[in-house]
């Protein structure tokens, strides 16, 4: 799961920073929220997988 998450953070960052084209304020806001949700997911994945290591 973490590997998949790491894989999508890069294209998400490219879109968010406007390197692939301009975005509306709403689109930027939605992307920021998506990124935050992925951050939460990443934290849960780390917390869940650590005890097993």
């Amino acid at each position: 799961v973490q590997a998949e998450l790491d894989g999508i953070m890069y294209p998400l960052g490219l879109v968010k920073t406007g390197k692939t084209g301009a975005l509306t304020a709403e689109q930027r806001q939605a992307l920021a929220s998506a990124e935050a949700a992925m951050g939460r997911l990443s934290a849960v994945v780390k917390a869940v997988s650590l005890p097993g290591k």
């Binding site: 998949e4 998450l5 999508i8 490219l14 939605a30 949700a37 992925m38 849960v44």
Partner: protein, 480 residues
């Protein structure tokens, strides 16, 4: 002054009888006389003589045969036989019959007294030895009884032993404390009267009707015991009780953990997917942006599928999958094939389904069986070639078991990979590029089959296809 020994003379009227009486009287013995079988039995019963001196013949009967009869009742009685003459046959018969010895003419009074004295001394020594042995054995048994009592009353598991009428024979301290019953007062009482706990009554009732062996006993203070019922031949039955409160607590913790993790993982995934859709709806996206967002959504779908598989696996392995219903596997299989019909048609696969008539039912979780079939058939569909792809599904029954076989003519699995095929996250080396999968599908299949007390295995050869076999125990309704 010691009491004189009583010598029973079981002899026909004869000069020897008179000689014996006189000799023994002179030596300080008391004597009694018996002249037939009835008299002999009566005096032995009433007077408990110290020695029996019996003739070779008594009232026409064999003295040895009569002695053997009496030794059945009085095995420690010394018996001396008076024979008319010495012979090897007599000596052999006396040894075989277990008599003390024999005397024969010519006899003087001293000979008679000496023979009697020798037999009495030997019997006394034997008696002393037997008493000593009995004392030692009794002490040893008593020690064992004490040890058993100490173990029985100090083990933490409760034990109740019942006779065939379900009366309490033994009840240890742990069982008494668990049910709040005074151990001493419970002995001999019917268990249904002595211990009124409804869960125990239920175990006893159902163990007779349905061969139920395990049952949980729940107490008001939150303790939970696992009660195990065992029949004991020739005695009755035993109930052992084990406190499983801490295991139940662990179960709750595991359950909470799985639920929390499930929520914490799924919730952000749903959010990301929602926001990704929102981006395309709230403004235009160029080609690059659209491509990146499509990649994002595809990855989120993959992660969601992976998380769902992991959570399913976690639930099954943690033993939370307890739902059981009476189901017909052929119905679930038919439904699954209908659902997968689109994929089968899209890949132009030839599918064949055979089943033997009158298949028995299973006691199983229908959703998990559906998941198992989805994974096995999904694999067969994924790995079967687009041109000339064939899948053969077969359902049969044998020895109270249901056998499912799913075969394909795909690329096959190498022998090295077959050894790991049911491990989590394992993917075969010859999996064609672009075939999606997390490596959890077959691990889930194995967990489901294991949780249903079945077996699953694979038979395959490279370039010759693969067959998965699942054997599940069929449901046997309880005998009425």
């Amino acid at each position: 002054m010691s009491i004189p020994s009583l010598i029973l003379l079981a002899l026909d009227e004869s000069p020897f009888l008179q000689l014996g009486k006189r000799a023994l009287f002179s030596a300080g013995y008391e004597t009694a006389e018996a002249h037939n079988r009835e008299g002999l039995a009566r005096i032995l019963q009433q007077s408990s003589p110290s020695l029996l001196l019996i003739g070779e013949r008594l009232d026409g009967e064999s003295g040895i045969a009569l002695s053997v009869e009496q030794l059945e009742c009085f095995p420690t009685l010394p018996v001396l036989l008076y024979a008319e003459k010495d012979s090897l046959t007599i000596a052999k018969d006396i040894l075989q019959a277990g008599l003390s010895g024999y005397i024969y003419p010519p006899l003087r009074t001293d000979d008679i007294v000496a023979a009697v004295k020798r037999s009495l001394d030997r019997a006394r020594h034997l008696g002393d030895w037997v008493r000593g042995e009995v004392g030692r054995t009794t002490a040893s048994l008593q020690r064992q009884v004490n040890d058993f009592d100490a173990i029985f009353n100090n083990i933490e598991d409760g034990v109740i032993i019942l006779d065939k009428q379900a009366r309490i024979i033994l009840l240890n301290q742990a069982a008494g404390q668990a049910f709040g019953v005074a151990v001493e007062s419970a002995f001999g009482k019917p268990v249904a009267q002595a211990i009124l706990h409804p869960d125990l009554q239920s175990l006893l009732g159902r163990s007779v009707e349905e061969s139920l062996k395990y049952h949980e006993i729940n107490f008001d203070d939150g303790r939970i015991f696992n009660a195990h019922y065992t029949r004991i031949p020739n005695i009755g039955s035993a109930i052992t009780l084990q406190d499983i409160s801490y295991l139940k607590e662990l179960d709750h913790l595991k359950n909470d953990f799985v639920h929390t993790v499930s929520h914490d993982l799924r919730s952000p995934l749903t959010s990301v997917m929602g926001y990704a859709e929102l981006i395309s709806r709230t403004g235009p996206l160029n080609e690059h942006q659209s491509e990146f967002m499509a990649r994002l959504q595809s990855s989120i779908r993959d992660i969601t599928s992976l998380v769902n598989d992991l959570l399913d696996l976690g639930r099954i392995e943690a033993g939370f999958d307890t739902r059981r219903e009476i189901v017909q596997l052929e119905n679930i299989l038919g439904y699954t094939l209908d659902i997968l019909g689109g994929q089968i048609s899209a890949r132009n696969l030839e599918i064949r389904f055979d089943q033997t008539p009158n298949l028995p039912p299973l006691k199983a979780n229908p959703l998990r069986l559906r998941q198992m079939l989805d994974n096995l058939l999904g694999n067969a569909i994924k790995y079967t070639p687009l041109i000339g792809g064939r899948i053969h599904v077969r359902l049969s029954t044998e020895d109270k078991q249901l056998i499912l076989q799913i075969s394909d003519n795909g690329p096959g699995i190498s022998p090295a990979d077959q050894a790991h095929i049911f491990e989590k996250f394992f993917r075969g080396e010859n999996v064609p590029d672009g075939v999606p999968g997390s490596g959890l599908g077959l691990a889930i299949v194995k967990s489901i089959v294991d949780s249903h007390l079945g077996r699953v295995w694979v038979e395959s050869a490279l370039d010759q296809g693969t067959s998965f076999f699942v054997v599940l125990p069929s449901y046997e309704p309880p005998a009425s």
